[in-house]
């Protein structure tokens, strides 16, 4: 399956899971809102041009926004993590090109440690920006801190579960491809 087709399927799947499963969980507490859809941006291939990353991030966020009727809210957060992603990867990936053999970020390719750090940084960024924007409309400042912490904890748990349940088959980067 080509990269493009695979990622279009992923996009639809992540969006549907976010809108129709995670957003529909019964109300437990106002600090418990599970977010997983941005994992799509974390899973995009390494060799994607940065401008493409930004556009994909924007579209992902906007698609979710039109379902939850908050145009621009998730789009802003997604554009931010799509912009920061290459810098984080540059910091965490081994510099020797011989080791840099995988196609997209994954725990098996990068190692669990670096991958979780990568996921954690982007998750915190996404949620912090999201909750800042919500806090600007209403609510005390403490809400913003607690929400960022809680959302991040839940998202990291979900990411861990997804990575353990659905280990991706990794394509090696070869000279021919």
């Amino acid at each position: 399956m080509s990269d493009l087709v695979k990622n279009i399927f992923r996009f639809i799947l992540f969006l549907l899971v976010q809108v129709f499963v995670l957003d529909k969980i019964p109300h437990l507490h106002r600090f418990i809102v599970p977010y997983l859809y941005f994992l799509f941006i974390l899973w995009l291939p390494f060799n994607m041009p940065r401008i493409g990353l930004l556009a994909t991030g924007f579209l992902t966020g906007l698609a979710l926004d039109y379902f939850t009727m908050s145009p621009g809210l998730h789009a802003a957060a997604c554009v931010l993590i799509a912009y920061v992603r290459p810098f984080i990867i540059f910091l965490l990936i081994p510099k020797e090109s011989s080791e840099f053999t995988y196609h997209e970020p994954s725990p098996r390719g990068m190692g669990w440690g670096p991958y979780m750090v990568y996921a954690l940084i982007l998750t915190v960024l996404h949620h912090a920006f999201l909750t800042i924007l919500i806090w600007l409309q209403q609510g005390p400042f403490l809400d913003f801190l607690i929400k960022t912490g809680c959302y991040t904890a839940i998202s990291m748990l979900l990411i861990l579960i997804v990575e353990l349940l659905f280990p991706r088959k990794l394509k090696y980067r070869t000279n021919t491809a």
């Binding site: 924007f58 966020g61 621009g72 554009v79 919500i134 409309q137 209403q138």
Partner: protein
């Protein structure tokens, strides 16, 4: 000039990032202030179509509950039938009102349209509900939405041809004027964003006797809602010593996470009322300047 182009090319990604951020923030803030955004009509149709398909499946999980609710409603209506009442006093007679319905249609103020919820959420600070009726079926902005048991849900803020978005009572911007049943106290119901089972009722001064269990109804002084529709029941009422007003927690009559069938209510005299209000304000302004 060449330097400018060189600058743009060098920082193209960063500039694209800034442009996209500004675009999304602009969309967010413009939507928050007046509920309009680019491509909203098209997006509403697309999300509506997807939501409708998912809702078709989702409906099966609510069948038992819905059946029970409809049966209960039917029971309450059957109990109102005249045949149930038997008046032994021969001096009294029950007359059927022979007034032709046609003769009062021109006095009609509220029109009800049925609709089905295809998407709703309770987990956010700003919750919206999507209905499967849109401008093609006569739904317009500012129409009231009540559950099929007659309890307040929200107000339509946006319509596309076949779907409409409802600003739920569970939204930080939702405001409904309300009264306490049987008491001369009115105020505003809003939501503090914390618990979707409870809304806040403000503006009742402490000389009114408010007890838990009191009924909160929609006020007669509102253009969107017909009067005396149930909002909820008082769960707790505490006097705020600083202001002398009550802080009332109201348990909503609707369970927002399971709401399925709704009515959309149109106020046929809304335009006239709004016009009158504007004219009045204009005249007051004129009087002010005239007196000066």
């Amino acid at each position: 000039m060449r330097n400018i182009f060189a600058f743009i090319r060098r920082h193209f990604v960063f500039l694209a990032f800034v442009v996209l951020e500004i675009l999304s923030l602009w969309m967010l803030f413009s939507y928050n202030s007046h509920h309009r955004a680019v491509f909203l009509g098209v997006a509403n149709e697309v999300t509506g179509t997807v939501n409708k398909q998912v809702d078709k499946v989702d409906d099966y999980f609510h069948l038992v509950e819905e059946n029970r609710r409809v049966h209960r409603m039917n029971d309450s209506l059957l109990n109102l039938m005249r045949a149930n009442f038997n008046i032994p006093d021969s001096g009294q007679q029950v007359h059927t009102d022979s007034l032709r319905i046609d003769s009062v249609t021109k006095y009609r103020r509220w029109v009800y349209r049925d609709a089905k919820v295809v998407y709703n959420s309770v987990n956010f600070e700003n919750n919206y509900i999507q209905l499967n009726r849109g401008s093609a079926q006569g739904i317009r902005d500012n129409m009231a939405v009540i559950s099929s048991d007659g309890a307040v849900i929200g107000v339509v803020v946006n319509t596309s041809p076949n779907f409409s978005q409802v600003l739920s009572l569970l939204h930080s911007k939702s405001r409904v004027s309300a009264v306490l049943k049987g008491k001369t106290a009115n105020g505003t119901v809003h939501w503090d964003g914390k618990d979707p089972r409870f809304v806040q009722f403000e503006g009742v001064s402490k000389d009114v006797d408010v007890k838990p269990g009191d009924t909160v109804l929609t006020s007669p002084n509102t253009y969107n809602y017909p009067p005396n529709y149930l909002i909820g029941r008082v769960a707790a009422a505490v006097v705020d010593k600083a202001t002398g007003f009550y802080n009332i927690r109201v348990q909503t009559a609707v369970n927002f996470s399971t709401v399925q069938q709704v009515f959309v209510i149109e106020n046929l005299q809304r335009a006239e009322q709004m016009l009158l209000e504007q004219e009045t304000e204009k005249k007051i302004e004129q009087a002010k300047t005239g007196n000066r």
